[in-house]
């Protein structure tokens, strides 16, 4: 383990911007051997997993079960498969328009889901597909939405970025716009006396939007259970963080809101941070907290960005081979005797089968009917008498 850690430390000397936490995926130590699937055992996170701003470091000792680790592995693998399927469908020109993939950032979405409760709310920006699935959606529903089909989670009318479930308030196509919306959702939770919080996610790129700071201020002023989550993948579209932000320590940018920087490539650290944040906002009623997950996207910003004009291929390759969240967890599982290579391979295969099946089902779903273009604009029965298309024949009468 020590040698791996050293290698990773060397690999970290990349022009990747200022950051204090480790971003390796496999520096957690086993403290106590796992016995069976449901018996919790103890792990110790690396002491550089977190950096704090005006708050205590989370407990580095983590209780976890074999079952949960395997589930995390399987979910990360499935999410990556889904994003790869979206990539292929896009390149086959079946998905049109915009598409932003989260390959490389799986530890954030899956780690978040493992640290929160069912009725907590999540809202995010562009890279939203894994959250939609994990928060109660389906892979078929996401892919069909990207394809613009009736089986899509927004019936094919939203497309990428516009996928919702009852506890997931969607991706969002306007950079940063989801952040005050998340603060409003948290206010409603507090008002209703719900023991829940809202996670409002945004990227390092969106972190400079004015309304993000407006939301910070309101959430702190009114002590709202809002967890602001900056997914720092180090590039806001094609601009490195240090060229867009005067302060790239995003976890310190909430002024009076305490912050926690987290190794976003290690899913166990991610889960720990989310649990910590949830306890902070809900159980301890300490108001908002700012989480920064230091992570990395392997692909470009969107499908039209090759992702290599503003960073080197070597950098991407190095991140993939040394700090990949899935490979990191895989190494844990094998080293700790949680699962054999064969068992993990079987999970990989299962992920592929699940996604392939969803792709076929999504592709088989028909496109929305023309009449569906006119629905969901106003509440049914309160529409204007007519809405116009281009021609007389296209005028829709409600």
């Amino acid at each position: 383990m020590a040698s791996i850690a050293r290698n990773i430390r060397a690999a970290r000397r990349l022009p990747l911007g200022v950051r204090g936490v480790k971003t390796s995926a496999d520096t957690t130590e086993l403290r106590q051997s796992p016995s069976n699937d449901s018996q919790p055992f103890t792990l110790k996170l690396h002491e550089d997993s977190f950096q704090t701003y005006q708050c205590e470091t989370p407990d580095l000792e983590v209780q976890i079960t074999k079952g949960e680790l395997l589930q995390m592995y399987s979910e990360m693998q499935t999410m990556r498969r889904m994003e790869m399927a979206a990539d292929a469908l896009y390149k086959a020109k079946l998905i049109r328009g915009f598409c932003h993939l989260a390959i490389g950032q799986e530890a954030v979405s899956v780690g978040l889901e493992h640290g929160i409760q069912k009725d907590d709310r999540v809202i995010t920006g562009y890279r939203c597909h894994p959250f939609a699935v994990l928060r109660g959606g389906t892979i078929k529903g996401v892919l069909a939405e990207l394809l613009g089909r009736q089986a899509g989670m927004s019936h094919g009318k939203g497309g990428s970025m516009h996928i919702f479930t009852p506890s997931f308030f969607g991706g969002n196509g306007i950079v940063g716009a989801q952040v005050p919306v998340g603060a409003g959702a948290a206010f409603a939770q507090k008002y209703k006396g719900e023991k829940n919080c809202t996670f409002a996610l945004y990227g390092d790129g969106a972190s400079n939007q004015g309304q993000v700071f407006e939301a910070f201020n309101m959430a702190k002023l009114w002590n709202l259970p809002t967890i602001f989550v900056c997914e720092n993948n180090k590039y806001g579209m094609g601009t490195p963080a240090e060229r867009s932000s005067s302060n790239t320590a995003y976890f310190t940018r909430g002024d009076k809101i305490p912050g926690l920087q987290v190794n976003g490539m290690d899913i166990i650290a991610a889960r720990r941070a989310v649990e910590y944040a949830r306890k902070w906002a809900v159980d301890d009623d300490k108001g908002p907290l700012l989480l920064e997950f230091v992570t990395y996207r392997y692909g470009g910003h969107s499908m039209s960005d090759p992702g290599t004009t503003y960073r080197t291929r070597e950098e991407v390759q190095r991140m993939r081979s040394t700090q990949d969240p899935i490979r990191g967890l895989q190494r844990y599982l094998e080293e700790w005797g949680v699962a054999t290579e064969q068992e993990l391979k079987a999970l990989d295969k299962e992920a592929k089968v699940v996604v392939d099946k969803a792709v076929e089902e999504a592709k088989a779903s028909p496109e929305p009917l023309v009449k569906d273009l006119w629905s969901d604009i106003y509440f049914k029965g309160t529409e204007p008498p007519v809405m116009r298309g281009r021609e007389r024949e296209e005028v829709h009468r409600y």
Binding site: M153, H155, V181, D376
Partner: protein, 428 residues
């Protein structure tokens, strides 16, 4: 020379719009300077205001939402100005809907126009609260609350400040339902905002931004003209299952006074109201200019001595139909088209500038739907296509004289008359 011909000439000589309005201006400054508060002489004694209990209870389209609360004599009314009526509507919403909250800049202590006076004391500071100066944040915050099923009544302190929130309103509020395929919506969001000129508001306190929202399908935009209208339409907007931008003409907050029913009632969204029936010309407007139009009708019917010579008898007897559009989105095409098909002439009056204003949209639709019935081109009387300057605001916005001028022109320079005249004189 025919009468029509003479009039055309007469107009170019004596009745030039500028000549006409400058005459009026010099008179008004000499005789009766407007008070600093921007008092509108037309509003105080407007016949359109329902100042008795009887007429108030007979407001067209009124829909009662609760039982008679006021004993044997039936429903009661109370004298209120517009800000009191708005406050009354919010108090009812807060009383009946425990998820309802009111927030915005300074609303905790009454708001700059006093619309939320005493609400924080009555309903608690958790339900009526001040926000930071953060319009985009207020809108986004309200959208988030509404997405959670809360009734969010947000105030943007002036309609001019709504532009930082434009993104949230157009890209978030308007599209929430559509982009989620109907699984989410922010129907319980209402944004209240004071709009239109106030006499001395200048660049950022006198704009009328309703037109900017007209293309944002998914939103509704409502502008009331009076206390009863404000209360009924605001309650209708708060309870409408779509996000509504409710623009309150700020000069009417104090100047428009009516007997307002104290019970819970709504007025319908998306419906125009014919205020004065007529058969010769349709005059469509909303908000403050409703009263300029009323004054214009009065001037046309019984012109003062100075104006007598340029307003001929035939124009004086014209029956002009005055319509308050009330909802800008969706706008009541049916009522307007039906009216223009009867009258053959349309004049649209609004305070926003002409280019890409709401009037352009209405005119385009009317010329298509009423083409063969139109006796004259549709005319628009609007603010100038310039920013609202600090000075000369009174001349920037449409006033009664400019409305008179437009009505007169639409009535007498009609294509029909010109063609007939030309044929008679062999010039066509």
């Amino acid at each position: 020379m025919t009468t029509a011909r003479r009039l055309v000439h007469g107009l170019s000589r004596k009745g030039h719009p500028l000549a006409l309005s400058s005459q009026r201006r010099s008179n008004s400054t000499k005789v009766e300077p407007p008070p600093a508060g921007g008092h509108l002489p037309g509003v105080a004694n407007s016949k359109l205001l329902r100042t008795t209990r009887d007429t108030a209870l007979r407001t067209p389209g009124i829909s009662w939402k609760d039982e008679v609360s006021s004993g044997l004599g039936g429903r009661e009314t109370q004298k209120m100005n517009t800000y009191q009526a708005v406050r009354d509507a919010m108090a009812i919403a807060l009383t009946k809907d425990e998820t309802a909250v009111v927030f915005g800049e300074d609303v905790g202590f009454g708001g700059v126009f006093r619309c939320t006076m005493g609400l924080a004391e009555e309903f608690g500071k958790e339900r009526v609260f001040n926000t930071p100066l953060t319009e985009q944040g207020i809108a986004g915050f309200g959208i988030g609350m509404a997405a959670m099923g809360h009734t969010a009544i947000a105030e943007i302190q002036f309609a001019d400040y709504i532009f930082p929130a434009f993104d949230q309103l157009v890209n978030e509020a308007a599209k929430y339902r559509y982009r989620s395929g109907g699984s989410f919506d922010v129907g319980r969001l209402t944004i209240r905002t004071p709009t239109m000129a106030v006499g001395h508001g200048g660049l950022y306190h006198s704009q009328s931004p309703e037109g900017f929202f007209m293309g944002a399908a998914g939103l509704k935009v409502v502008i009331p003209r009076s206390p009863i209208q404000a209360k009924g339409l605001l309650l209708g907007s708060i309870r409408d299952p779509n996000p509504v931008i409710f623009m309150e003409p700020k000069i009417l907050y104090r100047s428009a006074v009516e007997q307002v029913p104290i019970d819970d009632f709504e007025l319908p969204l998306g419906k125009a109201e014919i205020l004065v029936p007529g058969s010769d010309l349709t005059l469509v407007t909303w908000g403050t200019p409703v009263y300029h139009c009323e004054t214009a009708l009065h001037v046309l019917n019984s012109p003062s001595k100075e104006l007598e010579s340029i307003i001929p008898a035939s124009v004086r007897s014209a029956k002009i139909e005055l319509i308050d559009l009330r909802s800008i989105l969706p706008w009541d095409m049916e009522t307007i088209v039906e009216s223009v098909n009867r009258t053959g002439r349309l004049v649209i009056v609004h305070e926003a500038g002409m280019t890409a204003g709401v009037g352009g949209e209405i005119a385009a639709e009317v010329q298509k739907r009423c083409f063969l019935k139109l006796n004259a081109p549709v005319r628009r009387v609007t603010g100038w296509d310039i920013p609202v300057g600090l000075q000369y605001e009174k001349f920037h916005i449409p006033d009664a004289i400019r409305v008179v001028d437009a009505v007169y022109a639409a009535d007498w320079l009609s294509i029909h008359d010109r063609i007939v005249t030309s044929v008679l004189h062999g010039t066509l």
